[in-house]
């Protein structure tokens, strides 16, 4: 790595402003610096801008102010009324959504090979070989030729993760990927993410599952009212929050546990 004056952050979010329409402001000057290898879990009350933050980082949203750099390169910026997104940088980021979003007209393997073949121009045979290898790693090799409608929610979500990994992302975003799953299917998806974490994949995720957050995160960010309220290691933010708002939120989440 060329250290000189290079930005050491993987993702640097500066003064991010994002709203929907003139009256709804979701992100109000949010700053995050994510270092390489970090696994950031974003928690917070609903409406606090967590999912919006992930969608902005994925380049799915217009922003009204601020900028994001990725590995030192300019990635997203608000340029007057227009949002400038570097689509080449965007290709280095993968995302998995709450509702699977597998393409129903394509088989599992075709879901995996679509982007490598179309975007990167990888030969089909090679993409299929890689696809089958990833599916095997996820225990899904028997499902390569199945269609999404034939899979359980947990299997669909694992395929969605495999599909994102086909492009060798340098950052993975997980937006409440277990929220739509039946409880007994959550673990198999979380296990895949934990395995990725163990391999050092940088990730940023939104989850309501605090036990999972504690296990996977190297850093927890509590986001409310469109800004970062608290930011620190999981034991501290989840176990002994400094900020009153974080404490209230954590208490409410863990209340039922007594």
């Amino acid at each position: 790595m060329n250290a000189m004056s290079r930005d050491t952050a993987l993702v640097r979010i500066t003064d991010l402003h994002k709203g929907y329409g003139p009256n709804i402001r979701v992100l109000r000057g949010l700053n995050i610096e994510m270092k390489p290898g970090e696994r950031v879990v974003v928690i917070g009350p609903s409406g606090g801008g967590k999912s919006t933050l992930l969608r902005v980082v994925m380049g799915l949203e217009e922003i009204q102010g601020g900028a994001i750099t990725f590995a030192g390169q300019p990635y997203i910026s608000a340029d007057g009324r227009k949002t400038r997104i570097d689509t080449e940088v965007r290709k280095k980021i993968g995302m998995v959504f709450q509702h699977y979003t597998l393409f129903p007209h394509l088989s599992v393997l075709q879901n995996l090979t679509l982007a490598p073949c179309k975007v990167v121009g990888e030969p089909r045979a090679k993409a299929e070989e890689r696809g089958r290898a990833i599916l095997a790693r996820f225990g899904l090799e028997a499902k390569a030729d199945a269609y999404p409608s034939q899979l359980s929610g947990g299997q669909k979500q694992r395929v969605a993760i495999a599909r994102a990994l086909m492009l060798d992302p340098q950052l993975m975003l997980f937006d409440e990927v277990t929220s739509a799953l039946d409880p007994e299917l959550v673990a198999e998806v979380e296990q895949v993410i934990l395995n990725l974490a163990a391999q050092g994949m940088p990730m940023m995720m939104v989850t309501h599952d605090m036990w999972f957050a504690r296990n996977v995160a190297s850093r927890v960010i509590f986001c409310a009212g469109g800004v970062v309220v608290e930011d620190g290691p999981p034991e501290q933010v989840l176990g002994d929050p400094k900020e009153e708002r974080t404490r209230e939120f954590i208490d409410r989440v863990f209340h039922i546990k007594g």
Binding site: M58, M95, T101, L114, S149, A164, L167
Partner: protein
């Protein structure tokens, strides 16, 4: 009622009925070729960002959706030759009138199917790095076209049935031949019953296929 059925009066004269059926099928197939292709193009115009393209396309669709087919056909047959000085054979005129009607309805089918593709799939396409064109070609259209097939078939079979309307402007289709035969034989009950069975024999299998496709699709989407 003192009426003895004489099916033989019709069965002895099946040849004109088959000729009429051939014309009806010709009208149906040609109108469907127009409707399936032009309907798709029209749907793209209806969905266009540009009002110059969108507004006329929407007006075209609404005109055909909001007027009776029989009025459209009569208007077309009488007004087009007078207004535009265009004189075409009755079958060609029938094809164009039915085809334009079907184009409007199929455009709605395509539009609805395109808009029914979940927005999340497009987000996923962006996250996978697909360009806007690649997203349309690989994500939107394959799903939308599949979803629109049952509606296109239903519309197509509707046009088959509606084609009977062109009999009133002198196209020698199945209905026209039936009317002629009924007048000649004084056997309206037998003739029109058999005519109805002719239409049923074609429509019924297609509607069964539509039902099958919809059931299969219902399973696939779940």
């Amino acid at each position: 009622m003192d009426y003895t059925l004489d099916i033989g009066a019709v069965t002895r004269n099946l040849e004109p009925l088959f000729q009429g059926l051939a014309v009806t099928l010709q009208l149906t197939v040609a109108a469907n070729i127009i409707g399936i292709t032009a309907g798709f193009g029209l749907a793209l115009l209806v969905l266009s960002r540009f009002a110059v393209l969108r507004v006329p396309a929407m007006l075209f669709v609404e005109f055909f959706r909001c007027t009776p087919a029989i009025v459209q056909i009569v208007w077309f047959f009488y007004c087009v030759p007078m207004l535009f000085n265009v004189f075409l054979g009755p079958v060609t005129m029938g094809i164009l009138a039915l085809g334009m009607n079907l184009t409007a309805f199929n455009a709605e089918a395509y539009r609805a199917a395109i808009q029914a593709v979940p927005k999340e799939h497009l987000d996923a396409g962006i996250a996978l790095g697909l360009s806007p064109t690649q997203r349309v070609l690989n994500i939107v259209l394959p799903q939308a076209l599949r979803a629109s097939v049952p509606v296109l078939l239903t519309n197509g079979i509707g046009t088959f049935q509606q084609s009977a309307l062109v009999a009133i402007v002198g196209v020698q289709d199945l209905m026209y031949q039936g009317k002629t035969l009924a007048t000649q034989t004084y056997r309206p009950i037998e003739t029109f019953t058999i005519i109805a069975l002719f239409y049923l024999a074609v429509s019924f299998p297609v509607s069964q296929i539509v039902g099958y496709l919809e059931r299969r699709r219902g399973l696939a989407v779940r």
